[in-house]
Protein backbone atom coordinates (compact mmCIF):
# COMPACT_ATOMS: atom_id res chain seq x y z
CA UNK A 1 0.00 0.00 0.00
CA UNK A 2 1.15 3.53 -0.67
CA UNK A 3 -0.11 6.67 0.98
CA UNK A 4 -0.12 9.38 -1.65
CA UNK A 5 -0.62 13.04 -0.98
CA UNK A 6 -3.26 14.53 -3.27
CA UNK A 7 -0.87 17.21 -4.50
CA UNK A 8 1.55 14.51 -5.66
CA UNK A 9 -1.18 12.79 -7.63
CA UNK A 10 -2.06 16.13 -9.23
CA UNK A 11 1.61 16.76 -10.11
CA UNK A 12 2.03 13.35 -11.74
CA UNK A 13 -1.15 13.70 -13.79
CA UNK A 14 -0.19 17.25 -14.84
CA UNK A 15 3.27 16.05 -15.87
CA UNK A 16 1.75 13.17 -17.86
CA UNK A 17 -0.62 15.55 -19.67
CA UNK A 18 2.19 18.05 -20.31
CA UNK A 19 4.34 15.31 -21.80
CA UNK A 20 1.64 13.90 -24.07
CA UNK A 21 1.98 12.38 -26.68
CA UNK A 22 5.36 11.31 -25.27
CA UNK A 23 5.67 9.36 -22.06
CA UNK A 24 6.42 11.46 -18.99
CA UNK A 25 8.46 10.21 -16.03
CA UNK A 26 9.80 11.23 -12.65
CA UNK A 27 10.92 10.04 -9.25
CA UNK A 28 8.95 9.76 -6.03
CA UNK A 29 10.31 10.61 -2.61
CA UNK A 30 8.95 9.47 0.71
CA UNK A 31 9.47 7.38 3.78
CA UNK A 32 8.58 3.93 5.01
CA UNK A 33 7.10 3.37 8.47
CA UNK A 34 7.67 0.40 10.77
CA UNK A 35 4.81 -1.55 9.19
CA UNK A 36 6.27 -1.18 5.71
CA UNK A 37 3.73 1.40 4.57
CA UNK A 38 5.27 3.99 2.32
CA UNK A 39 4.17 7.61 2.41
CA UNK A 40 4.95 9.47 -0.80
CA UNK A 41 5.30 13.18 -0.20
CA UNK A 42 7.53 14.41 -3.02
CA UNK A 43 7.44 14.25 -6.77
CA UNK A 44 10.44 15.02 -8.98
CA UNK A 45 9.48 15.24 -12.67
CA UNK A 46 12.44 14.45 -14.93
CA UNK A 47 13.17 14.73 -18.63
CA UNK A 48 12.38 11.59 -20.61
CA UNK A 49 15.61 11.25 -22.59
CA UNK A 50 14.03 8.46 -24.67
CA UNK A 51 11.58 11.14 -25.98
CA UNK A 52 9.20 8.37 -26.98
CA UNK A 53 5.48 7.57 -26.80
CA UNK A 54 6.38 3.98 -25.93
CA UNK A 55 9.52 4.20 -23.78
CA UNK A 56 10.86 6.29 -20.98
CA UNK A 57 14.34 6.81 -19.60
CA UNK A 58 14.84 9.09 -16.65
CA UNK A 59 17.47 11.74 -17.36
CA UNK A 60 20.46 10.63 -15.23
CA UNK A 61 21.22 14.16 -14.03
CA UNK A 62 17.60 14.55 -12.98
CA UNK A 63 17.86 11.30 -11.08
CA UNK A 64 20.89 12.58 -9.19
CA UNK A 65 19.15 15.88 -8.39
CA UNK A 66 16.05 14.05 -7.17
CA UNK A 67 18.13 11.75 -4.97
CA UNK A 68 19.86 14.72 -3.37
CA UNK A 69 16.64 16.67 -2.94
CA UNK A 70 15.00 13.69 -1.25
CA UNK A 71 17.99 13.29 1.06
CA UNK A 72 17.93 16.99 1.96
CA UNK A 73 14.22 16.64 2.76
CA UNK A 74 15.04 13.78 5.13
CA UNK A 75 13.40 11.22 2.88
CA UNK A 76 14.59 8.94 0.09
CA UNK A 77 13.59 7.87 -3.38
CA UNK A 78 10.98 5.16 -3.01
CA UNK A 79 9.71 4.82 -6.54
CA UNK A 80 9.24 6.08 -10.05
CA UNK A 81 6.19 7.13 -12.03
CA UNK A 82 5.65 7.25 -15.74
CA UNK A 83 2.76 7.60 -18.12
CA UNK A 84 1.21 5.22 -20.57
CA UNK A 85 -0.30 7.44 -23.20
CA UNK A 86 -2.46 4.90 -25.02
CA UNK A 87 -2.60 1.80 -22.84
CA UNK A 88 -3.83 0.90 -19.37
CA UNK A 89 -1.84 1.63 -16.23
CA UNK A 90 -0.28 -1.80 -15.98
CA UNK A 91 3.50 -2.40 -16.22
CA UNK A 92 4.57 -3.34 -19.73
CA UNK A 93 7.00 -6.21 -20.34
CA UNK A 94 9.71 -3.55 -20.75
CA UNK A 95 8.79 -2.05 -17.38
CA UNK A 96 9.12 -5.47 -15.76
CA UNK A 97 12.44 -6.34 -17.39
CA UNK A 98 14.02 -2.97 -16.63
CA UNK A 99 12.58 -2.38 -13.14
CA UNK A 100 15.65 -1.05 -11.29
CA UNK A 101 14.80 -1.86 -7.68
CA UNK A 102 12.50 -4.50 -6.12
CA UNK A 103 11.96 -2.24 -3.10
CA UNK A 104 10.58 0.58 -5.23
CA UNK A 105 6.96 1.39 -6.01
CA UNK A 106 6.09 1.74 -9.68
CA UNK A 107 3.29 4.21 -10.34
CA UNK A 108 1.58 4.25 -13.72
CA UNK A 109 -0.44 7.19 -14.98
CA UNK A 110 -2.65 6.05 -17.85
CA UNK A 111 -4.00 8.59 -20.30
CA UNK A 112 -5.87 5.99 -22.32
CA UNK A 113 -9.31 7.06 -21.12
CA UNK A 114 -10.93 10.47 -20.80
CA UNK A 115 -10.01 10.61 -17.11
CA UNK A 116 -6.39 9.77 -16.26
CA UNK A 117 -5.94 6.84 -13.89
CA UNK A 118 -3.17 6.31 -11.36
CA UNK A 119 -2.21 2.82 -10.19
CA UNK A 120 0.76 1.52 -8.21
CA UNK A 121 2.66 -1.72 -8.58
CA UNK A 122 5.47 -3.74 -7.04
CA UNK A 123 7.78 -5.48 -9.48
CA UNK A 124 9.87 -8.30 -8.08
CA UNK A 125 11.58 -11.22 -9.78
CA UNK A 126 9.77 -10.53 -13.02
CA UNK A 127 6.35 -10.54 -11.36
CA UNK A 128 3.99 -7.62 -10.89
CA UNK A 129 1.55 -7.06 -8.06
CA UNK A 130 -0.82 -4.13 -7.82
CA UNK A 131 -1.04 -2.36 -4.48
CA UNK A 132 -3.70 -0.03 -3.06
CA UNK A 133 -3.20 3.71 -3.45
CA UNK A 134 -4.63 5.64 -0.49
CA UNK A 135 -4.99 9.35 -1.11
CA UNK A 136 -4.08 11.75 1.68
CA UNK A 137 -5.99 15.03 1.56
Amino acid sequence: MILLEKKILDQMVADALDGYPLEACGLLGGSVDGQGTVRIDSCYPTFNVAASARLYEVDPSGLLRADRAAEEAGTELVGVYHSHTHTEGRPSPTDVIQAPDPEWHYVLVSLRDVHPSVRSWRIRDGKTKEEPVVLQW
Binding site: C25, L27, A99
Partner: protein, 91 residues
Protein backbone atom coordinates in the same frame (compact mmCIF):
# COMPACT_ATOMS: atom_id res chain seq x y z
CA UNK B 1 42.45 9.06 1.94
CA UNK B 2 39.12 7.34 1.45
CA UNK B 3 36.24 8.83 -0.47
CA UNK B 4 32.56 8.34 0.24
CA UNK B 5 30.65 6.05 -2.08
CA UNK B 6 26.87 6.39 -1.92
CA UNK B 7 24.94 3.27 -2.78
CA UNK B 8 21.35 2.94 -4.04
CA UNK B 9 19.02 0.73 -2.02
CA UNK B 10 19.40 -2.19 -4.42
CA UNK B 11 23.16 -2.41 -3.77
CA UNK B 12 23.10 -1.93 -0.02
CA UNK B 13 22.40 -5.55 0.88
CA UNK B 14 25.73 -6.50 -0.70
CA UNK B 15 27.47 -3.88 1.47
CA UNK B 16 26.10 -4.84 4.87
CA UNK B 17 23.07 -2.58 4.50
CA UNK B 18 25.13 0.60 4.44
CA UNK B 19 23.96 3.59 2.39
CA UNK B 20 27.43 5.13 2.27
CA UNK B 21 30.73 3.27 2.39
CA UNK B 22 34.32 4.47 2.32
CA UNK B 23 36.80 3.24 -0.27
CA UNK B 24 40.29 4.27 -1.31
CA UNK B 25 41.75 4.97 -4.71
CA UNK B 26 43.12 7.64 -7.02
CA UNK B 27 40.62 6.83 -9.78
CA UNK B 28 37.04 5.60 -9.86
CA UNK B 29 38.37 2.24 -11.04
CA UNK B 30 40.69 1.97 -8.01
CA UNK B 31 37.86 3.01 -5.71
CA UNK B 32 35.75 0.23 -7.24
CA UNK B 33 38.61 -2.26 -6.72
CA UNK B 34 38.75 -1.34 -3.03
CA UNK B 35 34.98 -1.44 -2.76
CA UNK B 36 34.91 -4.93 -4.25
CA UNK B 37 37.73 -6.03 -1.92
CA UNK B 38 35.61 -4.95 1.03
CA UNK B 39 32.31 -6.21 -0.38
CA UNK B 40 32.89 -8.94 -2.98
CA UNK B 41 29.14 -9.28 -3.50
CA UNK B 42 29.17 -5.94 -5.31
CA UNK B 43 31.48 -7.15 -8.08
CA UNK B 44 28.89 -8.43 -10.53
CA UNK B 45 26.56 -5.54 -9.85
CA UNK B 46 29.19 -2.92 -10.64
CA UNK B 47 31.11 -4.44 -13.53
CA UNK B 48 30.55 -6.82 -16.42
CA UNK B 49 32.59 -10.00 -16.74
CA UNK B 50 34.92 -7.97 -19.00
CA UNK B 51 35.48 -5.40 -16.26
CA UNK B 52 33.42 -2.73 -18.02
CA UNK B 53 30.77 -0.57 -16.43
CA UNK B 54 27.26 -1.94 -16.51
CA UNK B 55 24.99 0.03 -18.80
CA UNK B 56 22.21 0.01 -16.22
CA UNK B 57 24.34 1.76 -13.61
CA UNK B 58 24.96 5.51 -13.52
CA UNK B 59 28.07 6.64 -11.68
CA UNK B 60 28.66 10.22 -10.64
CA UNK B 61 31.79 11.87 -9.33
CA UNK B 62 30.28 14.69 -7.30
CA UNK B 63 27.87 16.26 -9.83
CA UNK B 64 29.30 14.76 -13.00
CA UNK B 65 28.60 11.54 -14.84
CA UNK B 66 31.91 9.66 -15.09
CA UNK B 67 31.12 8.71 -18.71
CA UNK B 68 32.22 12.27 -19.48
CA UNK B 69 35.26 12.19 -17.18
CA UNK B 70 37.12 9.17 -18.54
CA UNK B 71 34.88 6.48 -17.03
CA UNK B 72 36.86 4.24 -14.65
CA UNK B 73 39.96 6.37 -15.22
CA UNK B 74 38.26 9.45 -13.78
CA UNK B 75 40.50 10.94 -11.08
CA UNK B 76 39.13 11.18 -7.57
CA UNK B 77 40.33 13.40 -4.78
CA UNK B 78 39.83 13.69 -1.05
CA UNK B 79 36.35 15.01 -0.21
CA UNK B 80 34.95 13.74 -3.51
CA UNK B 81 31.80 11.68 -3.40
CA UNK B 82 31.06 8.84 -5.79
CA UNK B 83 27.34 8.21 -6.19
CA UNK B 84 25.94 5.09 -7.79
CA UNK B 85 22.40 5.15 -9.16
CA UNK B 86 20.47 2.59 -11.18
CA UNK B 87 19.38 3.59 -14.67
CA UNK B 88 15.62 4.12 -14.47
CA UNK B 89 13.79 3.21 -17.64
CA UNK B 90 10.89 1.25 -19.01
CA UNK B 91 8.16 1.35 -21.56
Amino acid sequence: MPVDVRLPTILRAAAGGQATVEAEGATVGEVFDDLIRQHPGLRDQLLTTDGELHRHLNIYLNDDDIRYLGKLDAKVDVHDTVTLMPAVAGG
